[in-house]
């Protein structure tokens, strides 16, 4: 009995990909292997059609869409405020970052003011979110290399961050905490102590993971000189985030076009020139340390004051006012039924998500629901680079390469 190469050639197997594989696959000289969408290491429901020569990847064809949820279209059917809950579900490791991008777009569209306390809390929580996203990344990356303990250590520490999110928003992941014009509500009293606790707790933990991986000869040999990406290709493909910075290009939206008051904080944007999997690993480890610095600074100079704008056309009044003010009651009613009506126009807002530039394009026709929403998601853009990275490497490397691109399938498919 032998592997049925004829089956490889049948239209059901190759389908629309037939023109993408090499000639050798059609003669049965190379093997076609379906990796995913149910595969433990594709970080979700990503399907890769692999053309293998032995264990060497000749061609890698990503096939996406298995997690398509129609978020963009769905958002167009909801009022601006209700649509925000959809953003949580985009990149499920960067919920607050998605919230931030979305509310920033609305604030830009409507020219809303945001109180400084709200800005500082936004920065603080988004950086915590970055740490938590990178923790998942380090954990799964190590797990892809089969160092499984790191994964559990990372999840142990991520739990503390999720606890903080739950404390402020009532939800561990689907937060919807940032609202147009500020925050949903002020942080609870125990918030500052919890964050301070985490800021102190975290740095030794990063070193713990680094001890297990950074100088580990097996890990170094698995990651060094794997998946080299030259800066030119990276720019051509629109790669952003740690992938781009590992290629030596210092581009970070937090520095390039500071938003939400990032210019007030002192932090470094790590870059590297090796541009391989190991460099990208070092980059993300360093980013966690830097994020921790930002969190600490934000916590130390957290201003007091309101957390919501006073613009009553966009931000609901506090409940205490409803009983005594007719206008407040009307605003409350209008905002929760019809929603707010931003002026006509289109706007693009972008933040630096843990994966790269996360942008949202909003077009308003003056009505209560967005006319068009488009997300520019870093996972989608960065994943285009995967076939280029994978070519010529082994299947075992491919698993690490999927990790190094750091995709979230919710972010890819939307």
């Amino acid at each position: 009995m032998d592997i049925d190469f004829e089956a490889n050639l049948s239209p059901d197997v190759l389908g629309e990909f037939a023109h993408l594989v090499s000639e050798r696959a059609l003669t049965g000289e190379t093997m076609l292997l379906n990796m995913g969408p149910q595969h433990p290491s594709t970080h979700g429901v990503l399907r890769l059609l692999l053309e293998l020569d032995g264990e060497e990847v000749v061609n890698c064809i990503p096939d996406i869409g298995f997690l398509h949820t129609g978020i963009e279209k769905n958002m167009e059917a909801k009022t601006y405020l209700k649509a925000e809950t959809m953003t949580d579900r985009l990149d499920y490791l960067n919920n607050l970052g998605n919230n931030l991008t979305y509310v920033m777009a609305i604030e830009k569209l409507a020219d809303l003011d945001v109180p400084p306390r709200a800005q500082a809390i936004r920065v603080l929580l988004t950086e915590l979110q970055r740490i938590s996203s990178h923790l998942v990344w380090v954990g799964t990356h190590a797990l892809d290399a089969a160092a499984m303990s790191v994964f559990l250590y990372c999840f142990r520490d991520r739990e503390r961050i999720l606890d903080i999110f739950e404390m402020v928003s009532g939800q561990r992941m689907m937060t919807t905490y940032f609202r147009p014009g500020g925050l949903w509500r002020d942080t609870p009293v125990e918030f500052e102590a919890a964050v301070r606790d985490f800021v102190r707790y975290f740095p030794p933990r990063v070193e713990e993971y680094a001890n297990l991986l950074t100088k580990n000869p097996i890990f170094m040999r698995r990651t060094k000189e794997i998946g080299h990406l030259d800066p030119q290709t990276a720019l051509q493909y629109g790669v952003t985030g740690p992938m781009l910075r590992a290629a030596g290009i210092e581009h970070d939206l937090r520095k390039a076009q500071p938003y939400s008051g990032y210019e007030l904080y002192d932090f470094d944007v790590p870059t590297h020139t090796d541009s391989d999997t190991y460099a990208r690993y070092l980059m993300r480890m360093e980013e966690m340390r830097q994020s921790n610095r930002i969190v600490e600074q934000a916590l130390n100079k957290l201003p007091l004051g309101p957390v919501r704008s006073n613009n009553r056309k966009y931000v609901t009044p506090p409940r205490s006012e409803i009983g005594i003010s007719m206008e407040a009651l009307i605003h409350h009613f209008k905002l929760w039924t019809e929603g707010f009506l931003p002026p006509k126009g289109s706007v693009y807002a972008a933040t630096e998500s843990p994966r790269g530039e996360l942008g949202v394009f909003l077009e308003s026709d003056g009505g209560p629901t967005p006319y068009r929403v488009h997300w520019r998601t870093p996972s989608f853009t960065n994943m285009q680079i995967l076939p280029i990275l994978a070519k010529g490497h082994l299947v075992a490397d491919l698993v690490l390469l999927i990790g190094t691109v750091d995709i979230t399938l919710g972010d890819v498919d939307r």
């Binding site: 009995m1 592997i3 049925d4 093997m31 292997l33 595969h39 433990p40 290491s41 264990e55 190590a142 797990l143 892809d144 290399a145 089969a146 160092a147 499984m148 303990s149 559990l152 250590y153 142990r156 297990l212 991986l213 580990n216 097996i218 890990f219 040999r221 698995r222 082994l394 299947v395 075992a396 490397d397 491919l398 698993v399």
Partner: protein, 338 residues
């Protein structure tokens, strides 16, 4: 042959199989429990006190699972493969010396085939067979992942068998015998061969990990790459048999390591005074080695396939040869060989 000898053999064989089966079950428990503690978890703690009945629960579950045989699989080989893998793992233990006592007016040797004079050769021969099971399992499943796993394992096990075999040579030379009992005796007269043969010991440990497909050399079943490797299509008891093999081999390899390099059933002063402690001493040594194997699994990432082969041929094999060379040289200088 007298009847007493037959009874002795049968009793010992049954005891050995029961010990191995229970050992397998509780090794899975031990691994899960220790791994859990390494990773800030509790591990199994629901079935029975501190989860002690978990292996039973797993066993019962696997027995009642449906046995799926893929439509395009080669049925005979598919069914035979787990059997081919599991039997060698069991029969190796027959030649491990466990010490002896005087009972019922005769010398009772604890081990099954007591003093087989080619014990080491027997171990080498038998371990080599189990690779067939894995290759055939990978091939007969008619699954590309399983096939890749099977190919990997055949290459890996053949490469590492050489280094493993050469690591056996050191102790055999020191004891001037291929019999495991003689090797243990030689160690009881001097010191453990792990001290006298440090290179050989390290080569043996690394090669043994590769031979039994344990982390960081668990290439054939690389979960992250090949989902489960050669046993991806197996379910129910056939799957359990592969697990049985893997864990039995862990025990067996630890027993061999303890016997060849750590003095086997002998412990200075202790077993000289109370010879019946022999099996317990060996058991303690095996537990320590098993703990090491689990610790490695909790800590290290997996070596890549080509790097594994490079390590086997370019580092392990020369190191093992060097060890044999040095041993011979030192023994010649000391006048231990003519």
């Amino acid at each position: 042959m007298d009847l007493g000898l037959w009874i002795e053999w049968i009793v010992k064989a049954i005891i050995l199989i029961v010990v191995l089966l229970i050992g397998f079950m509780y090794l899975t428990y031990m691994e899960r429990k220790f791994l859990a503690r390494f990773q800030n978890r509790y591990g199994p703690n629901r079935a029975g006190p501190v989860g002690l009945l978990q292996p039973m629960a797993d066993g019962i579950k696997l027995i009642f699972k449906e046995e799926v045989i893929p439509k395009q699989a080669d049925k005979l080989i598919f069914i035979l493969a787990p059997v081919i893998t599991v039997i060698p793992a069991w029969v190796i233990l027959a030649v491990i010396p466990l010490g002896s006592i005087q009972l019922f007016g005769r010398t009772i040797d604890f081990s099954l085939a007591g003093d087989l004079n080619v014990g080491i050769l027997y171990i080498m021969a038998v371990t080599s067979i189990s690779v067939y099971g894995i290759v055939l399992a990978g091939w007969s499943s008619n699954n590309k992942y399983a096939l890749l796993g099977g190919i990997r394992s055949s290459a890996q096990m053949i490469s590492y068998e050489l280094a493993l075999g050469l690591a056996f040579v050191g102790p055999a030379m020191m004891a001037s015998s291929l019999s495991l009992a003689r090797i243990v005796e030689a160690q009881s007269k001097t010191v453990w061969f792990a001290v006298l043969q440090p290179i050989g010991f390290v080569v043996f440990l690394v090669a043994a990990l590769a031979e039994i497909n344990r982390s960081p050399f668990d290439m054939p079943e690389a979960e992250q790459e090949l989902t489960a490797g050669y046993h991806v299509e197996y379910s129910g008891m056939k799957f359990a048999m592969f697990m049985l093999t893997e864990y039995t081999k862990m025990i067996v390899v630890s027993v061999i390591a303890a016997t060849l390099f750590l003095g086997g059933y002998h412990f200075p002063f202790l077993t000289d005074r109370w010879p019946w402690l022999g099996p317990l001493v060996l058991f303690a040594k095996v537990i320590i080695l098993l703990f090491g194997i689990i610790w490695v699994r909790a800590t290290l990432p997996r070596v890549r396939y080509d790097q594994l082969m490079a390590l086997g041929w370019k580092v392990m094999l020369p190191a093992a040869l060097l060890n044999v060379f040095i041993t011979a040289g030192v023994m010649y200088v000391l006048g231990m060989i003519a």
